[in-house]
């Protein structure tokens, strides 16, 4: 059974425990953030079991519009430090079951609607008993209870055969549609005439952006109710080279005069390149800045 992250986000969803396989780092941050951010919005207590990845996940949540600092300060969002994550993974299964029960009860006692967690749990590869017993225990522990767990697997952290075993070991797998992903740049569609870029645009993948813009413009022009703005969410775009920026400026200039290109969530680093490439003088290009995120507040806790 495959579902989307949005399915799992809805409060009355019966899905409690699912897995997802990330094809790239950007995909991993996207899945983690979608799941955690939906939990915050639903009033759940949200935990991320960190093992060196929390900075990037928090950055992506910030890109997705979450007020992370407020959520961390209130305790609704918690990043479990790497040592604690690894220790929890290696506890015997019956002890772990007790911990899961405690998590749920504590969240309810504190007034949250439930609890959900995900994380970088690849330390489980070191468990002599493997990982399947953990998944079976989770199935039983969260069934019918206000708890949701997303087990994330990516090829950088897990061998292929383990990933296949884990896919078979979960009744629900979360799927996402990807327009393009080369592990440096990830493009996802967000509707007619809109898409999201995450990662970096350079010489290796620049033509993909041009292709995307042409395709989105075409879709918008062909749809009778299509939008007059082609909107690119670039809040997770960390780098763009000069030719990439010039390409965006030129693409906008070549749009029919009825249409505009909107870049939403432009980071300062990307904005400086666009400025040097004539973006301020392109009448059919609109940029909406994203504030720079200060150094993540949990950075110290990981040391």
């Amino acid at each position: 059974m495959t579902r989307t992250v949005e399915d799992m986000a809805s409060f009355d969803s019966t899905v409690r425990h699912a897995c997802a396989v990330a094809v790239s780092d950007e995909h991993l941050w996207e899945l983690s953030s979608a799941f955690l951010s939906a939990g915050l919005a639903a009033g759940d207590q949200v935990k991320y079991f960190d093992d060196g990845t929390s900075d990037r996940v928090l950055e992506r949540m910030f890109d997705d519009g979450v007020d992370i600092d407020a959520s961390l300060a209130s305790g609704q969002l918690e990043v479990v430090p790497p040592e604690a994550t690894r220790a929890a993974i290696l506890t015997p299964i019956d002890v772990m079951r007790g911990l899961v029960d405690e998590l749920i009860e504590d969240a309810l006692a504190e007034g949250y609607s439930g609890v959900r967690w995900t994380g970088q749990l690849s330390h489980a590869l070191n468990r002599p008993a493997g990982m399947l017993d953990y998944e079976l225990m989770l199935d039983a522990a969260v069934a019918g209870r206000p708890a949701r767990v997303l087990c994330l697997y990516d090829r950088a952290h897990y061998p292929d055969d383990v990933i296949e075993d884990m896919r078979r070991g979960h009744r629900v797998e979360i799927e996402t549609t990807t327009v393009y992903d080369d592990n440096l740049l990830r493009i996802t569609s967000t509707g007619i005439g809109s898409a999201r870029l995450a990662g970096e645009v350079d010489h290796s993948n620049r033509p993909q952006v041009r292709k995307l813009l042409l395709a989105e413009l075409d879709r918008a022009l062909r749809s009778p109710t299509g939008p007059h703005e082609i909107r690119l969410d670039v809040s997770s775009l960390r780098f763009i080279d000069v030719a990439g920026a010039v390409g965006l400026v030129h693409a906008a200039e070549e749009f029919p005069s009825s249409h505009k290109l909107v870049l939403d969530g432009v980071r300062p680093r990307v904005a400086r390149v666009l400025d040097r490439c004539g973006a301020p003088f392109a009448s059919q290009l609109m940029t909406i800045p994203r504030p720079d995120r200060p150094i993540p507040s949990t950075a110290g806790a990981d040391e």
Binding site: D202, S204, D241, V242, A243, V246, G247, R272, C277, F281
Partner: protein, 322 residues
């Protein structure tokens, strides 16, 4: 159809002349009436001459707000193309404020380097970097410089020569790019073992950026400065693998080159340069290519391109950590 008359009495593009002087005294005697006449015409005069020359001219003419001294090249200035790019920035500001500029430049032996090739490179680079600017540039060279090649170069890079105070066509003039084919931009002094060395292809540019950024941050550069310098190096590295050879090399020195503080990078590829001095002319908005090197030159303290039989080489200075 509307036909516009675009003729005007004002200069609209670079006029590049060469004059010669016998002695410092002789130079000042030539300059005082020339600068005086320009000021009387209402032109702003920009001096790129030795401080003692500027002092003597100012003393003779009295203080004038339209008489401007351009920045001093400094001891680390070994790259004619870098100085030309810097002058282009300074003049762009001045022409935006004051309209056409009269610029006076003087040969300075402390910038000769090993053989004086600096000057030929500088004048060829002026021919490209200032081509579309309303500047009347007169470069003064000594009649007997230490290196004969300086005069040979000057006779090729200047479209006009000043003879008896009057500009005359220079029959030996060649286009900047043909001059550089004959007198290539010099290679800079070799540096020691680099702190970081990366071999890369078109699909490893992100690794080049990541490693360089980490190194710059650890060397004390602020985030914005580090990111901008990484962009500059990325553009040069992109050119190397796009137009040069499938594999290229980056060397990084974090402690400067012995004269100038700050990080130095070199990008080497095995290709040949189509344009011996890329990125000097301001890019046209309709032209998608060629902007990368131009932007890199704006970001870097210095950017020197040279080539030899082993390929194309670029040295970039980040400037002091800020």
């Amino acid at each position: 159809m509307k036909i516009e008359n675009r003729r005007s009495a004002q200069i609209v593009a670079l006029q590049h002349r060469c004059g010669f002087y016998a002695s410092q005294r002789d130079l000042v005697d030539l300059l005082v009436p020339m600068v005086g006449a320009a000021l009387t015409r209402g032109s702003t005069v920009a001096l790129a001459v030795a401080p003692e020359t500027a002092d003597a001219v100012e003393e003779a003419l009295g203080p004038a707000p339209q008489l401007v001294r351009l920045s001093e090249p400094g001891p680390g200035c070994h790259s004619g193309q870098t100085l030309a790019a810097r002058r282009a920035r300074e003049l762009r500001e001045l022409t935006a404020l004051h309209g056409p500029i009269t610029m006076i430049a003087q040969h300075r032996s402390e910038l000769d380097g090993a053989d004086g090739a600096f000057w030929t490179e500088l004048d060829a680079a002026y021919g490209i970097a200032l081509a579309d600017m309303p500047v009347e540039l007169t470069c003064f060279y000594p009649e007997l410089p230490l290196h004969q090649s300086i005069l040979d170069g000057a006779r090729r890079t200047h479209p006009m020569l000043l003879v008896g105070g009057d500009p005359v066509e220079n029959p030996e003039h060649m286009s900047p790019r043909s001059v550089l084919a004959e007198y290539p931009a010099p290679s800079p002094a070799l540096l020691g073992a680099p702190d970081l060395q990366i071999e890369f292809g078109a699909w490893q540019l992100n690794e080049v950026r990541d490693e360089l950024e980490r190194a710059l941050l650890s060397a004390g550069y602020g985030r914005t400065r580090a990111e901008d310098f990484v962009l500059a190096v990325n553009e040069i590295a992109t050119n190397a693998v796009e137009h040069g050879s499938p594999d290229a090399r980056l060397y990084v020195w974090l402690d400067g080159d012995g004269v100038t503080e700050g990080a130095v990078c070199e990008v080497h590829d095995r290709g040949t340069l189509r344009d011996p001095l890329p990125g000097l002319a301001a890019p046209h908005s309709a032209e998608p290519r060629g902007r990368g090197v131009w932007i890199a030159r704006q970001i870097c303290e210095s950017l020197h391109v040279w080539s030899d039989k082993s390929g194309t080489h670029v040295r970039l200075h980040a400037g002091r950590p800020v």
